[in-house]
């Protein structure tokens, strides 16, 4: 599904190198988790994959089902099936949540040569999905993320993911700032989407999210590289001992 090879990334404006030869393969239907200390480059990885400005890829490649992601515009990556649930969802005053989602869904459909969804079908769909995430009608009408609490923003990200049905979902610290109930809700939303044709890359600091979204593979990232890969037990090890031991071991 997602294949990243030897990815080197620096900031466009500064001589700061962030990703230093990152290799990662996520197979179809699998859930991979990435853990790692603050500043190790996890968010940068998610931004580079989704096409944010300001980064320069100096070496390496990233492919989604054989398609070169790095060549595509952000909207083309989305239409190709990539989705990033932002660590810090962006507020967009004046654009209603519903309008935003319908425009996005139809833009993706159009890009894939599919027919647009009718207003009635869209309403039915979004009402059902919003209900599962306990997002009320009022929140759907409000401008995108404006005045939303931290938890509401994260649930709104998952709602977008559920509506857009991407095949490669990257979740960047979706659990941060969530209380236990909200986290369960988010995890349920993710688990409901788990499917043989869909993969997840879950970036988190905490084992507790991984209690709810069971990963197949856990990676430890440090200083712009994946330094260790293992099974779910690796997350437990981090939870108990922190990163120090692992980092010392691979150093």
């Amino acid at each position: 599904m997602l294949e990243i090879k030897n990815l080197h990334v620096k900031l466009e404006e500064e001589e700061k190198v962030i990703l230093k030869g990152l290799d990662l393969t996520v197979e179809a239907g699998k859930v991979h988790a990435i853990m790692g200390p603050n500043g190790s480059g996890k968010s940068t990885l998610s931004y580079v994959l989704s096409g944010r400005d300001g980064y320069e890829v100096t070496d390496g490649s990233a492919e989604l089902d054989g398609e070169d992601l790095l060549e595509l515009e952000p909207e083309e990556r989305a239409a190709a099936g990539l989705f990033l649930a932002f660590q810090y969802p962006v507020e967009i005053p004046g654009v209603g949540n519903m309008t935003f989602l319908r425009t996005a869904l139809n833009a993706q459909r159009k890009a894939r040569g599919e027919e647009e969804i009718s207003a009635a079908d869209f309403l039915k769909l979004i009402r059902a999905k919003a209900k599962d995430l306990q997002i009320d009608a009022e929140m759907l009408k409000r401008p995108v993320n404006v005045g939303f609490s931290g938890g509401e923003k994260k649930r709104n990200e998952i709602l977008q993911m559920a509506m857009l049905e991407p095949k490669m979902c990257i979740l960047d610290e979706t659990d941060s700032g969530l209380d236990v109930d909200a986290m369960k809700l988010v995890a349920q939303g993710v688990n409901a989407l788990r499917d043989a044709g869909r993969s997840f890359l879950v970036i988190t600091h905490y084992q507790r999210l991984l209690d709810h979204i069971k990963p197949d593979v856990v990676h430890i990232m440090a200083d712009g590289r994946i330094v260790k890969t293992g099974g779910p037990e690796l997350a437990l090890e981090v939870e108990q001992n922190g990163y120090a031991d692992i980092l010392a071991e691979v150093a």
Partner: protein
């Protein structure tokens, strides 16, 4: 006399020499014109060095000969306010066209052509024509409006005595590349009455329009206008409004294109608990220059005023906003709000803003803000990351930027017409 004043007076004389001054009419009409004429001869016409015209060069609005403007073919889009039931009054290059207009019969509303009204002794028209305009000359002179009062031969006088069943739509057609039009409207909304006036169209190559509106106690007046897409057209318009106790005045203007537009709105809140909202959305491209100049005087208690002006500028377009809230002594509990913002789509465009508050009462809430900014890059990336291509994503953000101004239109059908129009203009200009 200073050389500056002499130059202004010379400009007035040369402009007047190029006009045929109206003759005849009833005594009141003659008196009103003569009064305006003598005021104009004293004030002269504005020049580039006038403080009030610091950001907008009035030269082409003042000259005896009007620069022409090619007629724009707008048939590629649905008519403005399509599907809305109205009584329409059509003016072609500034001349009333009775044949093209509806029979001006509307329950609760009297409608008369200005030239006819000026022959008769219509007391409410007499009490307003040139009167609100003259009051609006203090503390800042607006000589182009005085010129209008002195010279206007056409326009309409409207008096609402009840709730008008439908809007009156003033349709301004532009058919002559060299037309130079002056229109003067007088509107009286009697106590408890309600009236909506729509205006649409470029009107002429050069257009000078004055609308005097008196809203009596408990009256409601709504005004929505679109100014026409003719690229080379020029317009200077003035709205002078006086608001009585518990009356409501709401005005919205959509402007796209036009090489020069100066829209002045002068409002006096003279009765307690009155409400005045003025809003505008402007889309400018290239040599577009658009100026909103607003002066709101609070002279009664507990009145509310709002000014919401948004401009989207690109390819070197210029936007101007001069907005003032004057709170007179004793106008306690005034609630004044003013926001003017521009969205600059490139570095060549500019927005010049002069927001002013002048407050002589101690128990008031007044806020004002003015910003100028580019498209929010974070927002754009977020929308694109959800699959919305850059063009439509930029449009969404642009419409969102304009939303606060359009939301000021109370009638949902009119607001929807404006939104839809903006949407199609934006997507079309992307090609």
């Amino acid at each position: 006399m200073s050389a500056l004043l002499q130059a202004k007076r010379d400009a007035a004389e040369s402009r007047l020499a190029g006009l045929r001054l109206p003759e005849g009419g009833s005594a009141w009409a003659k008196a009103a014109r003569e009064d305006a004429l003598s005021r104009l001869r004293l004030s002269g016409l504005p020049g580039r060095r006038d403080e009030y015209w610091k950001y907008t060069d009035p030269t082409t609005l003042v000259t005896a000969d009007a620069p022409g403007a090619a007629v724009f073919d707008g048939s590629d889009e649905s008519p403005v306010f399509d599907g809305i039931d109205w009584v329409e009054l059509v003016f072609v290059d500034g001349v009333f066209d009775a044949d093209a207009s509806d029979d001006p019969a509307l329950a609760g509303v009297e409608i008369e052509r200005l030239s006819t009204a000026m022959q008769a002794d219509i007391h409410w028209a007499r009490d307003l024509y040139g009167v609100l305009e003259a009051r609006g000359q203090v503390p800042v002179e607006r000589p182009l409006a005085t010129l209008n009062t002195a010279c206007a031969t056409d326009g309409v006088v409207i008096r609402a005595t009840g709730k008008a069943a439908k809007p009156v739509n003033l349709i301004y057609l532009h058919q002559d590349d060299a037309s130079d039009a002056i229109l003067h409207h007088v509107i009286k909304v009697e106590s408890g009455a309600e009236l909506t006036v729509l205006e649409k169209g470029p009107a002429a190559a050069r257009f000078n329009k004055v609308m005097e509106v008196d809203v009596a106690d408990g009256g409601t007046f709504h005004h929505v206008r679109t100014q026409g897409r003719d690229h080379e057209r020029r317009a200077v318009t003035h709205v002078f409004a006086r608001l009585g106790t518990e009356s409501v005045f709401k005005s919205f203007t959509l402007t796209a294109n036009g090489v020069l537009t100066r829209n002045e709105v002068v409002i006096e809140l003279t009765g307690d608990d009155a409400v005045a909202h003025v809003a505008g959305a402007a889309l400018g491209d290239g040599d577009f220059h658009h100026d909103d100049t607003v002066f709101i005087t609070h002279d009664a208690e507990r009145c509310e005023s709002r000014q919401v002006f948004k401009k989207v500028l690109r390819n070197g377009a210029t936007g101007v906003f001069q907005g003032k809230i004057l709170v007179k002594p004793g106008a306690q509990k005034t609630d004044g709000y003013q926001i003017s913002q521009s969205l600059l789509l490139d570095d060549d465009s500019q927005f010049l803003a002069k927001p002013e508050l002048e407050i002589y009462a101690d128990d008031v809430v007044c806020s004002h803000g003015s910003t100028s900014g580019a498209i929010d890059e974070e927002g754009l990336y977020y929308l694109r990351s959800r699959g919305i291509p850059e063009g439509p994503a930029t449009d969404l953000l642009t419409l969102a930027f304009l939303a606060e101004a359009i939301d000021e239109i109370e009638d949902e059908a009119l607001a929807e017409d404006i939104r839809g129009r903006l949407e199609s203009w934006l997507s079309r200009r992307r090609g």
